[in-house]
């Protein structure tokens, strides 16, 4: 699972915002409430001074001992109950308008009238409903949070898309790039220094790799080519020696065996060169080929050998198998498979070749009645234990042609004592 950069940042931003807003909300709530009470209390204190002053001059005031529209009451108290100071408390009172109990802020204080009597003064004022306030604040903050997250998503989408566009461009360009093929450096499309640097570094890296790759490619090819001439000389010299009638028989036999060895070297060299060319995409001439025709051609070339080895050939075609491939490589692909089917077959064995619409299967009687190691058979230089005639490259070449050059897959299976090699079109 991978997550896009955009969503990745968003995930953390959303979590962080939630915490920040929660903390901020708590602080905000406390500060606002404090300020509110402070204001209310100041108002109450001011009112207290006015009421006490009034009470000094107007005895009627002293008679107000119930909260009604006055919003204060004065109760006589004993001197023992008298206390200095202002005492605030919150209390719930029934409010007709709302038809429920509402919080009131109450200032309780004590005073003496002109005659020295003790009184308790309580002034009340409707104050903020903390629960409602908290709830309102909570909803407001939820809304703010959602609004912020949505805004961030939108801004992220617009800004990040714009900001990261060159980066995605670079990614796409890299995705299209194939090793060994001409790489087109990205045009300067960004003003962002980091991306510009990234592009430059990538271009440099690819250039270095390509140079190294080309040199190596060149080296393998050159090495193979350079080997051809000395091999040609050695083989020709041996040919000339073998031609000489005066050479004694034993020496002739030795010479012939030496030549055999050299020919194996030549074949190995050729196979390596072929493999390196396929893998370097040097066979550019591809066209649509009917595999059926190639198979018939190859089988025709093998007629004598099949007859000689007394192998029964069962060839059938149910449809025409067309695929885009270089004609020479198509021939090599099929002939390598058929050659193996002939070579690793017992006298009186059987080869079954079937061509379908997008598949060809080549089955041959197994000499040893057990499956081959699928992990190994397509590896370079893999040979069965006692096989000294093979270069160990035949199936590597087949695989390389099928998978690197053409759009084909090669699959091995072991069925009813038959080795089965299938070449299938990849998109079917």
């Amino acid at each position: 699972m991978s997550i896009s950069l955009k969503n990745y940042t968003l995930k953390y931003l959303a979590a962080a915002l939630l915490v920040i807003i929660a903390v901020w909300a708590a602080l905000f709530y406390a500060v606002i409430l404090d300020e509110l009470y402070d204001n209310t209390d100041d108002g109450l204190k001011d009112l207290k001074i006015q009421i006490i002053r009034k009470a000094y001059t107007d005895d009627a005031t002293l008679g107000i001992n119930e909260f009604d529209f006055n919003q204060f009451k004065i109760t006589p108290v004993s001197s023992a109950q008298y206390k200095e100071g202002n005492f605030f408390r919150n209390e719930l009172f029934y409010m007709e308008y709302d038809d429920e109990m509402e919080p009131y802020r109450i200032l309780e204080t004590y005073f003496l009238d002109g005659n020295g009597n003790h009184y308790r003064l309580e002034i009340r004022t409707s104050t903020v409903e903390e629960d409602d306030f908290g709830l309102d604040l909570f909803f407001a903050l939820i809304f703010l949070y959602i609004f912020l997250v949505v805004s961030i998503v939108l801004i992220n989408n617009i800004v990040l898309k714009k900001v990261w566009k060159p980066f995605y461009g670079t990614l796409e360009n890299l995705g299209k790039y194939e090793f060994g093929k001409q790489y087109k450096p990205k045009q300067n499309t960004t003003e962002i220094r980091e991306f510009k640097l990234l592009d430059q570094k990538i271009d440099k890296m690819i250039e270095r790799n390509e140079t190294a790759f080309t040199q190596q490619k060149q080296f393998i090819e050159n090495a193979s080519h350079e080997l051809q001439t000395p091999l040609a000389i050695a083989i020709s010299k041996l040919d000339l020696l073998i031609e000489r009638e005066t050479v004694p028989q034993e020496i002739l036999t030795d010479l012939s065996e030496t030549k055999h060895g050299l020919i194996r070297l030549v074949n190995l060299n050729k196979s390596l060169l072929l493999l390196s060319r396929i893998e370097n995409n040097q066979y550019t001439d591809k066209r649509e080929i009917e595999i059926n025709e190639v198979v018939k051609h190859v089988l025709d070339d093998f007629t004598d050998l099949l007859q000689f080895k007394n192998i029964v050939l069962d060839f059938a075609e149910t449809a025409v198998f067309k695929t885009v491939i270089n004609p020479d490589l198509a021939y090599i692909l099929i002939s390598n498979l058929i050659r193996n089917a002939v070579k690793y077959n017992s006298t009186g064995g059987k080869i079954i070749v079937t061509v379908h619409a997008a598949e060809i299967t080549i089955k041959n009687t197994a000499v040893v009645k057990e499956p081959l190691n699928v992990e190994l058979i397509f590896n370079r230089f893999y040979k069965a234990a006692n096989d000294n005639t093979s270069t160990g490259l035949g199936l590597s070449i087949v695989k390389s042609i099928a998978e690197n050059h053409a759009d084909l897959n090669i699959i091995y299976a072991f069925e009813n004592n038959f080795h089965v090699f299938s070449v299938k079109a990849r998109n079917s």
Binding site: Q228, A232, I233, E243, S256, R277, D301
Partner: protein
């Protein structure tokens, strides 16, 4: 028959020269572009063996030169670069054949013969040995006046022997020339033997005076 070998590798040049002289050709050599240009400009050859990579120029340029001069010489390209592009380019430019190094001398000989014959009918149109006559272009074989019917591979096999009668033909060369890469060396020994046996039986049945002689460990000889 006059042949020009253009090849910069001295050892290979000498070997090929030696071999072709053994086959009764008149052989001249050039080991660089300059000498080659001079020779081509001055003399006519029946066949030119042309190495593509020369120290002071490309064999392809020489080939173009030959065509510009409107020369009728058959050209066989010899190249260490066994690449399809080179082959196609060479043949497109009018080369008669293309051989990748390393090649066998017998194969080279057979190709020279074919190239000369095809090129301007100057070579023998038939090859005869004792009472057997072979028509390479029609792919027919006659024993005396009677036609001997051979399949494709048998014909190719006989052709190789007829070009060089009384000389040893190595099994490896035969296998590669006639059956290409398809035959494995492990099989070739017995396989060639069985093919020769078939051919020998057919020749005997049609009263041919030629026969194959096995040379132990090496190959066969047409006698």
């Amino acid at each position: 028959m006059k042949i020009l070998i253009i090849e910069d590798e001295p050892a290979l040049l000498v070997t090929v020269k030696q071999f072709l002289e053994g086959e009764k050709y008149v052989v001249e050599t050039a080991n660089n572009f300059k000498t080659a240009t001079e020779r081509i400009g001055t003399y006519d050859y029946d066949c030119i063996l042309l190495d593509i990579m020369l120290p002071d120029g490309s064999g392809i340029e020489l080939l173009k030169e030959i065509k510009i001069l409107n020369k009728k010489d058959a050209v066989i390209i010899l190249s260490a670069k066994n690449s399809v592009e080179d082959k196609v380019l060479g043949l497109d430019l009018g080369a008669d054949d293309y051989m990748a190094k390393p090649f066998s001398l017998m194969e080279l000989h057979a190709r020279i013969k074919s190239a000369i014959r095809r090129n301007y009918q100057k070579g023998e149109t038939t090859i005869a040995f004792k009472n057997v006559e072979l028509f390479p272009d029609d792919r027919k074989v006659f024993v005396g006046k009677a036609e001997l019917v051979l399949n494709r591979k048998e014909f190719d096999l006989l052709y190789y022997f007829m070009i060089r009668p009384e000389k040893v033909l190595q099994k490896t060369v035969l296998a590669e020339s006639v059956w290409g890469d398809n035959i494995d060396q492990a099989d070739s020994l017995d396989f060639i033997y069985s093919q020769i046996k078939n051919l020998r039986r057919k020749l005997k049945e049609s009263h041919a005076e030629i026969d194959f002689q096995a040379v132990y460990g090496i190959g066969y000889k047409l006698i």
